[in-house]
């Protein structure tokens, strides 16, 4: 199991995470800032969620 957390203060709204894993991440309509939809994504999504963590330009996503 992995647990995802996001830092909305750090987020710059690049949208990479939403392009990669739209079932896990979204962006707020008012500010484009990350919204976490699924803090404990199912196993098939782990790879793509880790990719989102790795490519986030502000390091606003962490998995544990």
């Amino acid at each position: 199991m992995i647990r995802v957390s996001v830092d909305r203060e750090r987020c710059c709204g690049a949208g990479q995470c939403v392009l990669l894993a739209p079932d896990v991440f979204d962006q707020g309509e008012e500010d484009g800032i990350v919204v976490l939809l699924e803090p404990e994504p199912a196993e098939p999504l782990h790879g793509i969620v880790r990719e989102a963590e790795a490519v986030c330009p502000t390091g606003a996503i962490t998995t544990s």
């Binding site: 710059c12 709204g13 949208g15 939403v18 008012e30 490519v55 502000t58 390091g59």
Partner: protein, 401 residues
């Protein structure tokens, strides 16, 4: 200034090969003194970790209008990195407010919603290119028009003004190509156009970014001033046009230069997403990089940089750092994750990157779909570069199909 400093940007062996200095400096001199087109010295950073650190640290600011900051371009005003632009550039909290106001228009979902329109534009442009017969120049018939059409659409600018936008954008991005009076004239014309455009949208709002920004600004007691609105429109045109336009040409050239790459994509179009990211990482001709300025001492790469230092971050050199990317010198269309720095990093990371990705993925998909037999009509070594501009690209890309 009697020391011979290397001149930056470095010359490239060919349009698709990086300057050898990148690898030399990464391993031997990661904080390197160079001379810019203006004649001013600056410090060049080429390692992944250093470039990422600087771009993520707000103390490295964009206020290049400071008295002792290096001038970037050969002309006086400095174009997009000049004093006037610096005055329109929000920083710190004001930047975060701006970013969040504008950011909501560039979300991945909004860009996905634009995708069918982008695809229709791409198909129309390609139809026209094919109708003209082979060989054709992919840069002028496809790469350049597509993003300017998209950005005009986004800003609510009429189609008939697209050619003017392309002209202004080209002039405002000059390092050495145009004379100061030509750049001034283009900036003034563009400024007047946008100022009038903002006024017109205030009087008669449409379904576009500028109209929506005005509505928010006016409703919340001038959250964005007229100057910030004009600066935003100008920034979006420049950032949204030349960068993506050049990248479409360079990406296609990289994929065709070794035709096994193109054939791999024709056989497996699902690789388009990672192929686009790899083309962004592998770009050997990205242009200048991002300049930053500091007002306090900060250590980078083991060197203490004094206040008043201007640093140039070379994202493209960092993208080929072997300590950050396995087999960094190989183009791997399946590479993932691919945390390249082509859109920058940190709080100022490119706001339009979801748009750029959507455009690049769409442009490539349409090309693969319509012209699977696409091939270069010249050898890769002979591809002509655009010279003297802040954003690097190809002057022409002659192809047949």
């Amino acid at each position: 200034m009697d020391i011979d400093l290397p001149e930056y940007p470095f010359p490239q062996p060919t349009a698709l090969e990086p300057p050898p200095e990148w690898a030399e400096l990464r391993s031997g001199c990661p904080v390197a003194e160079v001379r810019l087109a203006s004649g001013d010295p600056a410090l060049l950073l080429t390692r992944y970790s250093d470039v990422r650190q600087v771009l993520s640290d707000p103390r490295f600011n964009r206020l290049l209008n400071a008295e002792d900051a290096a001038r970037i371009t050969a002309n006086e005003s400095g174009g997009v990195f000049g004093a006037e632009q610096a005055e329109k550039t929000p920083t710190g909290e004001a930047h975060q407010r701006w970013r969040r106001l504008v950011g909501r228009y560039f979300t991945a979902k909004r860009m996905a919603a634009m995708q069918p329109r982008i695809q229709a534009m791409a198909e129309r442009l390609l139809d026209e290119m094919v109708a003209g017969g082979a060989p054709a120049d992919l840069v002028s018939s496809y790469g350049f028009p597509l993003p300017v059409w998209v950005i005009c659409d986004l800003l609510g600018v009429p189609d008939s003004d697209r050619a003017k936008f392309a002209y202004w954008s080209d002039h405002m991005l000059s390092l050495t190509r145009y004379q100061q009076d030509e750049i001034n004239a283009a900036e003034q014309e563009f400024g007047r156009y946008i100022w009038a455009h903002v006024d017109a949208k205030r009087a008669d709002p449409g379904d576009d970014l500028i109209s929506e920004l005005i509505a928010v600004a006016d409703a919340e007691d001038g959250q964005l001033s007229q100057m910030e609105l004009v600066g935003t429109a100008q920034g979006l045109l420049i950032a949204g046009h030349e960068t993506t336009a050049n990248m479409i040409g360079k990406m296609t050239a990289m994929l065709l230069a070794d035709r096994s790459r193109w054939e791999q994509l024709v056989a497996e179009p699902a690789l388009v997403r990672t192929a686009v990211e790899e083309a962004l990482r592998f770009d050997a001709n990205p242009g200048f990089g991002l300049p930053r300025y500091i007002t306090e001492e900060i250590e980078v790469g083991g060197t203490k940089l004094p206040p008043g230092t201007t640093v140039i971050t070379s994202m493209a050199a960092a993208n080929r750092d072997e300590t950050a990317f396995e087999s960094a010198g190989d183009m791997d269309l399946r590479r993932a994750p691919n945390p390249h720095l082509s859109f920058g990093a940190g709080p100022h990371s490119c706001i339009g990157q979801a748009l750029a990705r959507t455009e690049l993925q769409t442009a490539l998909t349409v090309l693969l779909d319509r012209l699977p037999g696409l091939a270069l009509d010249v050898s890769p070594e002979e591809l002509p570069r655009r010279e003297g501009l802040i954003i690097g690209g190809l002057e022409r890309l002659m192809v047949r199909w």
